[in-house]
Amino acid sequence: MATPVLEKPRKGMLKWDIGRRIWQYRVLYIMLLPGIVYYILFKYLPMYGVIISFKDFRIMEGIMASPWADPWNKHFLTFFESPYFYQLLRNTILISVYKLIFGIVPPILMAILLNECRVRWFKSLVQTLTYMPHFLSWVIIYGILIALLSQTSGLVNTWIKDMTGSTIPFLTSPTYFRSLLVTSEIWQNLGWGAIIYLAAMSGIDTTLYEAARVDGASRLRMIWHITLPGIRSVIVMLFILNLGHIMDAGFGQIYVLYNLQVYSVADIIDTWVFRTGLQQMNFSLASAVGLFKSVIGFVLVLASNRIAKKWGEGIW
């Protein structure tokens, strides 16, 4: 414990010091200014705007003047008690989980194959081709799906018709729609997702392969015993981190691809919020549902990051 006599001037010194340091860095603060203004306007004001979830928002009166909801959690109750609550939650989580499970192996397999490919030009050709879909928008991919799957003139349906005489409504049938979402996402990210695994593979100590070769190990054995263990930590890490985003089932993709016939299997929280809030102008209810999702997402991301970090420390 320092005596108060000594402490006082010190504090003053410190304050003065900080003031001088801030002044010294003033140009840097000026640089930060436009970015800070952006964050306040478009990130933090909307966070404040979340209070409309607890109000009966009226567009003419604005966020401040609109009356509070009675009871305060009215819109949440409406949502929880509504028939679509279960459906939205189920669709969101199911689509996410399907994407997570079925999406994990193809990029890993792709990376292993690329890693085994010894012909340089062929490897880079395949990489260029398979990375490309990642840069196509969902609108474009929707167009591609129409060309391939539409019931009247899609390529696949012409084949099916030739063989069986009937056609399959891939784009409008609840039976196929989730598979369509998962497959199109895998197609889009097959090559792109492999990049990170390839990078991890390039970090594997090459002497391991040499030693294995001397011992007479086959290539398959080397893949199994060296390559795969070498990227295991990256696989687990990505999986955990993706688990944190389970509430994001892919708004962009689903909104562009879905239609009235498949709402029962495809409508997720985000698409519902968009329709209810921005199209039907039911702002408070939609905002409450959005908040519900944000809060769960926040907890999941924090938890998954923490687990990933803990797990990462164990490995590296």
Partner: protein, 285 residues
């Protein structure tokens, strides 16, 4: 001997699957191009769209080009992409540079301010209401300002700046150079690769942007490319009347090809930057 055989078998499998993967990636696009070139006569003759049409026609492209919405939309998207990406870059760099200075008082608070927005957001509806109350609805600014800064990109550029050797900045400061000059004449030229990378990501984001437009723009004359293409795709038969010789499907695919062409043409040349960006991102994440 046995080993040589096994090696050859594995090579065979590897190259076959990789070839198929490449084919799966490009075939749908090539088929879309093929459909966009198929005249109605061929469809009538074979009953469907063949993979390789015997005759081709560019009439679908002409029709789409003359369908005024598309030209207009190209202009809107090109403008938003150029202006938007430029502003994205400027503000991102201006944020990243001070935050890369470890001695900056309050640095960690500013970083925290950015990190929080990566974990929690007000959501679609409040954001819409803010954009609305700022008077940005139905302006091109609504396509640029709400997504002006990608927090992830700031962190990537920031950590790149941090790796630059500090001595050169110290000596530049000794020579009396101001921060803006150091940033413009030393930091940015030393960081071209990372700046090109995030610039490309911003640019592709603008080109492919669909949601900001359907949220904030209701004036049809201001619709960007992706929105117009989606409208064309959603129309079932009306388009056919434009020109009796072109099937509706052909017109749709012509629109798809035109909208994706710029990305597909530019992408192979810039692929290495994109790949680098993916890795930068995953290391941070």
């Amino acid at each position: 001997m046995v080993r040589g055989v096994e090696d050859r078998v594995i090579n065979g499998i590897v190259y076959t699957i990789l070839f198929l993967a490449g084919l799966v990636a490009v075939f749908p696009l090539l088929y879309v191009v093929s459909v966009s070139l198929t005249p109605l006569s061929v469809v009538h003759k074979s009953g469907s769209f063949p993979i390789i049409p015997r005759e081709i026609t560019f009439s679908a492209y002409r029709t789409i080009w003359e369908y005024s919405g598309m030209v207009q939309a190209f202009g809107v998207t090109a403008m938003v992409t150029i202006v938007g990406t430029l502003l994205n870059m400027i503000i991102t760099i201006l944020l990243a540079y001070p935050l890369s200075r470890k001695k900056l008082p309050g640095r960690s608070s500013f970083l925290m301010m950015i990190l929080i927005t990566m974990l929690f957001s007000g959501g679609m509806v409040p954001t819409y209401l803010i954009v609305k109350s700022l008077g940005l609805l139905n302006t091109y600014w609504s396509l640029i300002l709400p997504g002006l800064v990608g927090s992830f990109n700031v962190l990537i550029v920031k950590s790149f700046f941090e790796q630059l050797p500090e001595e050169i900045f110290e000596s530049a400061k000794m020579d009396g150079a101001g921060e803006f000059r150091i940033l413009a004449q030393m930091t940015v030229p030393l960081s071209t690769s990372v700046i090109a990378t995030i610039g490309l990501f911003y640019a592709v984001g603008h080109w492919n942007d669909f949601f900001q437009a359907i949220m904030y723009i209701t004036d049809r004359s201001m619709f960007p490319l992706q929105v117009v293409v989606r409208e064309i795709l959603m129309q079932s038969q009306q388009l056919e009347n434009f020109e009796a010789t072109t099937p509706a499907q052909t017109l749709k695919m012509a629109a798809v090809v035109m909208a994706s062409l710029p990305v597909i043409v530019v992408y192979p040349f810039l692929q290495k930057y994109f790949t680098k960006g993916m890795l930068l991102g995953s290391i941070k994440g």
